[in-house]
C-alpha cells in the first residue's frame, strides 16, 4: 500500500498554524512569568520559620507536584468556576493551572538554590548591618539565581510541552489548530507530522540554547544546582 503524501492542504492553512503557535507561546510566556513570581513567593514562604507560612506553601507545592497537570487543568476549568462563581475561559484556566504548577516546581529550584549559598554569605551580610530581607535580596538571591539558570530553562521547556494540554479544553493552541485542520482537510498524517516538527524545531532550539548556557556557567565555576 503506497500512500500519496500531500502537504498542500497543510500549507494552505499556514495562517491557522501560525496563530496556534502564537497562542502556544502566549500561554507559555504568561505562565512562565507568573510561575517565576509565584515560585519565589512559595520558596520564601516554605523556608520561613513561621509555620503559618511554611505549611500552606508546602501543601500547595506537594499537591501541584504530585497530581497530573491534566487533572489540575480540568479541575480549574470545570470545578473552580462553580465554587467561586466566575466566568472561566480556557485561556484563564490554563494560565492559572500552569502558573501554579510551574510555580510549585520553580519553588523547589529556588529553595535548592538559596540553600546552596554558604552560611558565610549570610553572616557577612549581617555583619555589615543588613537585615534578613536585605541580605536575601542583595547578597543571596543574586548568587543563587545564577546557579539556578539551567534548572529554570529545563523547567521552561517542560512548561512549553505541558501547554499542549489546553487543546483538550478547546483553546486554539498549535495542537488544537492541528486537530481542526486534520478534520477539515482529511489529512491527519501530514498535519500532525508538520505540527510535531514545528514543536520539535522550537523546543529543540531552546534546548540547545539552554545547554550552551549551562556549559558556559559550568566554565565560570557555577555548576548546575538540581
Amino acid at each position: 500500500m503506497t500512500y500519496q503524501w500531500d502537504f498542500t492542504p497543510v500549507v494552505a492553512n499556514a495562517p491557522l498554524l501560525a496563530e496556534g503557535l502564537a497562542n502556544t507561546l502566549k500561554i507559555t510566556g504568561v505562565s512562565l512569568g507568573c510561575g517565576l513570581v509565584l515560585g519565589l513567593a512559595f520558596a520564601l514562604m516554605r523556608l520561613s520559620h513561621r509555620r503559618w507560612l511554611s505549611l500552606p506553601a508546602g501543601f500547595v507545592i506537594e499537591v501541584f507536584r504530585t497530581t497530573p497537570p491534566l487533572v489540575q487543568l480540568f479541575w480549574m476549568f470545570f470545578a473552580l468556576p462553580l465554587i467561586v462563581g466566575i466566568e472561566m475561559t480556557p485561556f484563564l484556566a490554563a494560565v492559572v493551572t500552569f502558573s501554579i504548577q510551574s510555580g510549585a516546581f520553580f519553588a523547589e529550584v529556588f529553595r535548592a538554590g538559596i540553600q546552596s549559598i554558604e552560611r558565610g554569605q549570610w553572616d557577612g551580610a549581617r555583619a555589615i548591618g543588613m537585615t534578613h530581607a536585605q541580605a536575601m535580596r542583595r547578597i543571596v538571591l543574586p548568587q543563587a539565581i545564577k546557579r539556578m539558570i539551567p534548572a529554570f530553562l529545563e523547567r521552561s521547556i517542560e512548561l512549553m510541552k505541558t501547554t499542549t494540554l489546553v487543546a483538550t479544553i478547546a483553546y486554539a493552541d498549535l495542537l488544537f489548530q492541528a486537530n481542526e485542520i486534520a478534520q477539515k482537510t482529511f489529512r491527519p498524517l501530514e498535519t500532525f507530522t508538520v505540527v510535531a516538527l514545528i514543536y520539535f524545531v522550537v523546543i529543540f532550539a531552546v534546548s540547545i540554547l539552554a545547554r550552551q548556557l549551562e556549559r558556559r556557567l559550568a566554565v565560570s565555576g557555577e555548576s548546575t544546582v538540581h
Binding site: V63, T66, P68, P69, I157
Partner: protein, 219 residues
C-alpha cells in the same frame, strides 16, 4: 455551594474501572519505556556511530516534542500508513513509552558514565567480555545510583497516563469526565479524581525523597 460526594460514591464502579485502566497503561509504559530506554541508553554510550546516531536522534526527537502530540500522531496519523487501526490504549501506550524511553535513556547513560573507569578495567583484567562487565559489574552499581531518577520517571509516567483520556481510553480522568457529565457534579467528580491520584502518587514521591536522601549520605 454545597459539596455532595454521594453522587461520586454511587459511581464507585466506574472509578474502579478507571483505576484499573490507569494501572494497566502505567504498567505497560513503565516496563516498555524503561527497558527500551536501557537499549537506547546503551546505544547513546556506544562508540559505533551506527548505534550512536540513531539513538541520539531518537532521544532528541522524543525529548523535544510534547507527549500529547505524539499520542495524537499515533492515534490519528499512523493508522493511515498501516493496514490496521490503532486502539486508544495502543496509541497512548506508544506515545508515553517512547517518550519515557528517551528520558530514561539519558538516566541510564549518565549512570553508566558515572561508574569509575577502574571497574571496567578490573572486570576486563579477570577476563570478562564487554557484555559481561556491563551486566555483572557496571550496571548493578549504576542502577543503585540511578534509582531516584528512575522512580521519578515512574511518577511522571503515572501522571502522563491521564493524557490517554484525550483519545478516550478508559482511565481515571476519563471516568471522572463521564461521572461529571452524567451527574452534573464536576466539583466533586474532579476533586475525587485529583485526590485518588494524590493518594496513589504521594507514597511514591515520599519513597523517592527517601532514596535521594539515602543516596546523598551513602556517596
Amino acid at each position: 455551594m454545597k459539596w455532595d460526594f454521594a453522587s461520586v460514591f454511587d459511581n464507585t464502579d466506574a472509578l474502579l474501572a478507571g483505576a484499573a485502566g490507569t494501572l494497566r497503561i502505567f504498567a505497560i509504559c513503565l516496563v516498555c519505556g524503561l527497558s527500551l530506554g536501557l537499549v537506547i541508553g546503551l546505544g547513546r554510550y556506544a562508540h559505533n556511530k551506527w548505534l550512536y546516531w540513531p539513538a541520539t536522534a531518537f532521544v532528541e526527537f522524543f525529548r523535544n516534542t510534547p507527549v500529547l502530540v505524539q499520542i495524537l500522531w499515533f492515534y490519528f496519523a499512523l493508522p493511515i500508513l498501516l493496514p490496521f487501526t490503532i486502539s486508544p490504549l495502543a496509541a497512548a501506550a506508544l506515545g508515553i513509552s517512547l517518550n519515557s524511553a528517551a528520558f530514561s535513556a539519558e538516566i541510564y547513560r549518565g549512570g553508566i558514565q558515572s561508574i569509575d573507569r577502574g571497574q571496567w578495567d578490573g572486570a576486563r583484567a579477570i577476563g570478562m567480555g564487554w557484555g559481561q562487565a556491563m551486566r555483572r559489574i557496571v550496571l548493578p552499581q549504576a542502577i543503585r545510583r540511578m534509582l531516584p531518577a528512575l522512580t521519578n520517571r515512574a511518577i511522571e509516567i503515572f501522571k502522563m497516563s491521564t493524557l490517554a483520556s484525550a483519545v478516550a481510553y478508559v482511565e481515571l480522568l476519563q471516568q471522572g469526565k463521564l461521572i461529571a457529565s452524567l451527574n452534573f457534579n464536576p466539583i466533586e467528580a474532579y476533586t475525587a479524581v485529583a485526590v485518588i491520584f494524590f493518594v496513589f502518587l504521594w507514597p511514591l514521591v515520599q519513597f523517592t525523597y527517601m532514596l535521594e536522601r539515602r543516596l546523598g549520605r551513602g556517596e
